[in-house]
């Protein structure tokens, strides 16, 4: 596979010594890794390893008690999710978070929200610049619809769609924000083989065509090993492996965490 065509080696996001506690529970302990521009970075680990917490730290939903997050050269301690979004970080969720009663098109349009400049009143009246702006955004959304091959459900309320398609719509909404860094929380969970293959292709295509950096959490090892450039492995909130898929696969700690060891 022609992977890593866009990976430049430049670090986009680096996490240093991150620790996150909820009361006495240590969700993440002293974790450091980085995400390079243009790569597909996977976070794997058994249930409860702290993968989603990690993503939540990256997009500012959780605030780690210790450690430093540097994104595009700027180090921050505290950031709100909407600030993360403004800086080009978009994400999808483990449990789909779409507006069920709205159509695919409208759901993806909400992803353009941050990029709309005209005010609420002008938008409501659909007048002058607001109309022009909406047309531009609509054209952009149509490109995403075309890209994800969901033309046939453009006007279908999302609640009526099968799970696999809802996941695709959610990816569409994340893409609508034109993110630099895309966080995908289990994009293939609960999908059948064919849907998984489609989703893999879309993830690769997003990376390939838009040069978007992607950080994903995934349980399907086949998928992870196939599409990611580098993998970080967490277990009980600690980092136990980091490297290319082949390196990680060969690491005794990782094998132990996944298959268990006889002590």
């Amino acid at each position: 596979m022609a992977r890593a065509a866009h990976a430049t080696g430049e670090v986009l996001l680096s996490l240093e010594n991150i620790s996150l506690r909820f009361g006495g529970v240590k969700a993440l302990t002293d974790i450091s890794f980085d995400i390079r521009k243009g790569e597909i970075r996977a976070i794997i680990g058994p249930n409860g390893a702290g993968k989603s917490s990690m993503l939540n730290c990256i997009n500012g939903f959780y605030h780690p008690q210790e450690g430093r997050i540097t994104y595009k050269g700027v180090t921050r301690r505290q950031m709100r999710p909407h600030q993360a979004a403004e800086q080009g970080i978009a994400r999808t969720f483990q449990n789909i978070a779409l507006f069920k009663g709205m159509s695919t098109l409208d759901n993806i349009m909400t992803g353009r929200n941050l990029r709309m400049k005209t005010g609420l009143l002008a938008q409501a009246l659909h007048w002058g610049p607001a109309q022009r702006e909406e047309n531009e955004h609509r054209a952009f959304v149509e490109r995403i619809i075309d890209f994800l091959e969901i033309q046939h459900i453009r006007k279908v309320p999302v609640g009526r769609l099968p799970y696999g398609l809802q996941k695709r719509v959610e990816l569409g909404r994340a893409l609508a924000a034109e993110p630099e860094l895309l966080l995908l929380d289990e994009p293939m969970a609960g999908m059948n083989l064919e849907e998984k293959q489609d989703m893999c292709r879309f993830v690769l295509d997003v990376n390939d065509q838009f040069g978007t950096t992607i950080c994903l959490i995934e349980h399907d090892m086949g998928v992870v090993m196939d599409i990611s450039d580098r993998v970080v492995v967490l277990d009980y909130g600690k980092k136990i492996g980091d490297g290319t898929p082949d390196e990680v696969k060969a690491s005794p700690d990782v094998i132990a965490a996944y298959l268990g060891t006889s002590h």
Binding site: A2, A5, A139, E142, E149, Q209
Partner: protein, 653 residues
């Protein structure tokens, strides 16, 4: 018809006709394509310009007279233009079914000795790259949609080819016109590979004269013109699409509309509202199944209205359409029905503006056919073949009969051979099978008669009836006539049955394989609290067997009415746990049953049907869409049926 007869006389080839269209219909829409959610229109002048640029680009790549251009993808305007572009240079386009697996495609590429191929997208390019590694001749690959092809080397984009072409045209302004002028009506126009139910596909070579005259004759009797609209959604490699969308599109100037994707056809149909429509019976059936399912979920008042008015439509709708006398009260009621039910329904289906609708390919069920006609849609059957450039017979307007396939189109003659086989002759009769003189000689006599391979007869009114494939008609051991397709079609007319395969030739009695329809049976199961997790599980349910047994019993009662068929009732059947699929070679790409192959593959099941057992173990390989293989395995039940007696015999007993 508003054909420019003088121009038509000088324009013999499709590139010449395209030039004529650009002159006389320059600003009228030629192609429409939905792109980014909006219908984009290309006028004849634009199409002419784009096509010439692509043709010159091909020439700059070394494409010349006699070269073949493989074209594979969904119906896209630019792929149609590429056909014309190849023809401008005296080359021959070879459209290939876009769902063929690489091995099938490799055979065509190799047999056609193609050096050039145009693919719609990455999916097709992947297959062609695989083929290029094996087939030495294939050299130049061009793609239309570059998505996902960023990391590939050695490919050309459609735009690049056009750019090269514009450069060439600037350098040699007369080159293209000289090439186009060289074309003659007797030249080969296109090669269409027929899927065929047996053996390797054959490359049917059709000339410009074949296609042009066949398309013109049919267009004339239907009165097609430049204001007509067509939605092209059936494979470009199929002769029907080639005639309707390409040949008739160019000749009559009608607008060809390309759907956004295969999944949006129904929506696109509604937005375009075509006036000229073709659908194979299976699609007509799907549409009705969907309507019925949605009506089941409608409110009581709507359901009642639908039932009452549909009953009226069934009674008088067909007569109104054919201009037969209908009482005033019924006429008024029908008007009301049109306002309340038929009109909105046709609008939802996108069939409001249809003037001419064809169906063909397989026998169409009476309920299905009458449904459309009763709504006032001029649905007609036609009978045709690739070897005939489609048109052999068509139902004449106002003389539509369900049990026939209509009367011959102008200039076509029919003859029935002694063994009952239908032979035809006419202007559309194919030139030859490419590189296969034996097969050509077998099919086409020296004086131009073509063996259709179908058994049939012509009735006193000149209507042609088709019974079955001539080679499939057999006899039971007691001498009873066994026409498998006749029985299968009766079975398939039930919405719950998707496909059926009947066996009986040189056997003691008739048996059948049944494929259930997942949508219809799934919906039925939901309503009857039958839980299932997979197609295989649903197919094995006792309740489903009961459901299918009712259908089989009904077919047996029908057969009992016909003294010739009475002995050919289905005595045992089983429901196959997997859908028959073209990827497994069980159906052709046009979804016709490949009888011989199925009999061989499922020999154990057939043996069980005739061996008196009540269950049989089933294990077979299936091919997934991406070409990987898997296994389906399980036990299959066999159901015995009572045979019906004809009414008089029952009284005697």
């Amino acid at each position: 018809m508003r054909l420019e007869t003088t121009a038509a006389a000088t324009a013999e080839t499709f590139p010449q006709i395209l030039a004529r269209n650009a002159r006389q219909w320059g600003d009228l829409p030629a192609y429409r394509e939905k792109d980014y959610g909006i219908w984009q229109t290309h006028t004849w002048r634009q199409v002419h310009d784009q096509t010439r640029a692509f043709a010159a680009g091909l020439a700059s790549l070394g494409f010349g007279r006699g070269d073949k251009l493989i074209i594979v993808g969904d119906n896209r305007p630019r792929l149609y233009w590429a056909m014309n572009a190849a023809q401008m240079l005296g080359g021959i386009p070879v459209p290939v079914y876009q769902d063929s697996v690489a091995a099938e495609m490799a055979y065509v590429v190799e047999h056609a000795e193609a050096r050039f191929a145009l693919a719609e997208d990455q999916e097709q390019i992947d297959k062609l790259l695989e083929i290029r590694a094996q087939v030495s001749g294939l050299r130049t690959l061009i793609y239309e949609d570059g998505r996902g092809l960023g990391g590939y080397d050695g490919l050309l984009s459609y735009d690049q080819v056009q750019q090269n072409g514009r450069a060439l045209m600037a350098a040699k302004p007369d080159f293209l016109d000289t090439e186009i002028a060289k074309g003659k009506g007797s030249d080969s126009s296109v090669m269409l590979y027929t899927s065929g139910t047996t053996g390797r596909p054959k490359g049917v070579v059709l000339t410009y004269d074949n296609l042009r005259r066949s398309a013109e004759n049919a267009a004339r009797i239907e009165g097609l013109g430049e204001r007509d609209e067509l939605l092209c959604y059936l494979p470009m490699a199929w002769v029907g699409d080639h005639i309707f969308s390409y040949a008739q599109g160019l000749i009559t100037g009608l607008t060809v509309n390309c759907p956004e994707s295969a999944a949006t056809v129904q929506t696109d149909l509604r937005e375009i509202g075509p006036t000229y429509y073709f659908a194979p019976p299976r699609i007509l059936e799907n549409i009705i199944t969907n309507v019925m399912i949605r009506m089941e979920d409608a409110g009581a008042l709507k359901r009642w209205m639908f039932r009452a008015f549909m009953a009226l439509a069934r009674r008088v709708g067909g007569d109104l359409l054919d201009g037969r006398p209908v009482g005033l009260a019924d006429r008024l009621l029908y008007r009301l029905g049109d306002l309340l039910v038929y009109g909105p329904l046709k609008n939802t289906l996108g069939l409001s503006r249809v003037r001419i609708a064809y169906t063909a390919g397989e026998a169409v069920g009476p309920d299905i056919f009458n449904f459309y006609r009763s709504l006032g849609i001029n649905m007609k059957q036609l009978y045709g073949q690739t070897e005939a450039s489609v048109f052999v017979t068509i139902h004449p307007n106002r003389d539509v009969r369900l049990d026939t396939v209509g009367k011959t189109v102008p200039d076509v003659e029919l003859r029935i051979a002694d063994n009952g086989e239908v032979l035809f002759r006419g202007p559309g009769v194919f030139h030859e099978y490419y590189k296969n003189p034996e097969a050509t000689a077998e099919t086409k006599t020296a004086d131009g008669w073509v063996h259709s391979g179908d058994a049939g007869y012509v009735d006193d009114d000149g209507h042609l009836h088709i019974i079955d494939r001539a080679k499939d008609v057999g006899r039971l051991t007691d001498g009873t006539l066994f026409a498998p397709k006749f029985i299968e079609n009766k079975l398939k007319f039930f919405p719950h049955i998707n496909e059926a395969v009947a066996f009986g030739d040189t056997r003691d009695f008739v048996t059948a394989f049944i494929n259930i329809d997942l949508t219809a049976v799934g919906n039925w199961a939901e309503r009857h609290d039958v839980a299932y997790a997979s197609y295989q599980e649903l197919a094995g349910k006792k309740e489903v067997y009961d459901l299918i047994a009712d259908a089989v019993a009904q077919v047996n009662r029908d057969l009992a009415h016909d003294p010739r068929m009475e002995g050919a009732q289905v005595q045992r059947f089983l429901i196959l746990p997997k859908l028959l699929d073209a990827d497994d070679g069980e159906l052709t790409r046009t979804r016709k049953v490949r009888r011989g192959f199925i009999a061989e593959r499922y020999a154990a099941l057939i043996a069980a049907l005739y061996g008196g057992r009540t269950t049989v173990h089933f294990r077979t390989e299936v091919t997934f869409e991406d070409g990987r293989k898997g296994m389906v395995e399980g036990d299959v039940a066999i159901r015995d049926m009572d045979t019906a007696r004809p009414a008089p015999a029952r009284r005697a007993a």
